[in-house]
Symmetry: C2
Subunit: 114 residues, 2 copies
Amino acid sequence: MTLYHPPREQIELADVLNALGHPIRLKIVRSLAEQGECACSAISLDISKSTATHHWRVLRESGVIRQQQSGRTIMTSLRREDLDARFPGLLGVVLGGRSPELAAAAGHPGGDTA
Amino acid sequence: MTLYHPPREQIELADVLNALGHPIRLKIVRSLAEQGECACSAISLDISKSTATHHWRVLRESGVIRQQQSGRTIMTSLRREDLDARFPGLLGVVLGGRSPELAAAAGHPGGDTA
DNA sequence: TCTAACGTACGACAACTTTCGTACCGTTTG
DNA sequence: CAAACGGTACGAAAGTTGTCGTACGTTAGA
């Protein structure tokens, strides 16, 4: 069980967009943004375990999320810093609000995506 | 030949991301952003005509581009306003630079975000 | 140690995508 | 009118994706 993650510099925009271009994966990413790091089972999806594993893999291998084993669960989190470094603003757009960059540039404090 | 376009309010993020999550379509969108409105044949892709038609259709039906017949060519353009209204900043991210919104909010033309 | 929980691995299958060739259609131009 | 041009429509083939069930591996706890 290797859990491959691409290094930051190898994260490709087309791969990321492709990974995010599916309703279930978009939901996963939004839940992750809300809840922060959490076990896979903390995000309830109405699909089988093996299908869920497939979607986590797509997100992980495209560079959107990071997964690491911790006890008998796998803790999953958004690769916010890597994504922001590589494609500034993308996460903000995807999370449905203003991007943190946009809020910062406008000079409003507390511009955090809920 | 109906050339369906979704109305602005029906443009879905997942569909747009999915459409953009393919190298050829990403290239089309970037060319369109550079060149402005143009005939399909003005963007050279190393694929057959029917394959190109397929990719234009995906972009059109997801709401990314607009196509209208003009004489014997079809003029194609980015749906910038619709996309900016629906998903502010997305186009900026995809076009590889800062978003126009970000630059406007920052209020200085040459502002370089680290 | 035995069992339960969490999640992956594998194999299968259906559905969708990507690609192409060929045929076609509407417009312009000789 | 006929031919050339720009592009779509259709059908087919190959590849990829999304889905599931079952089996498995690891860790935690009784």
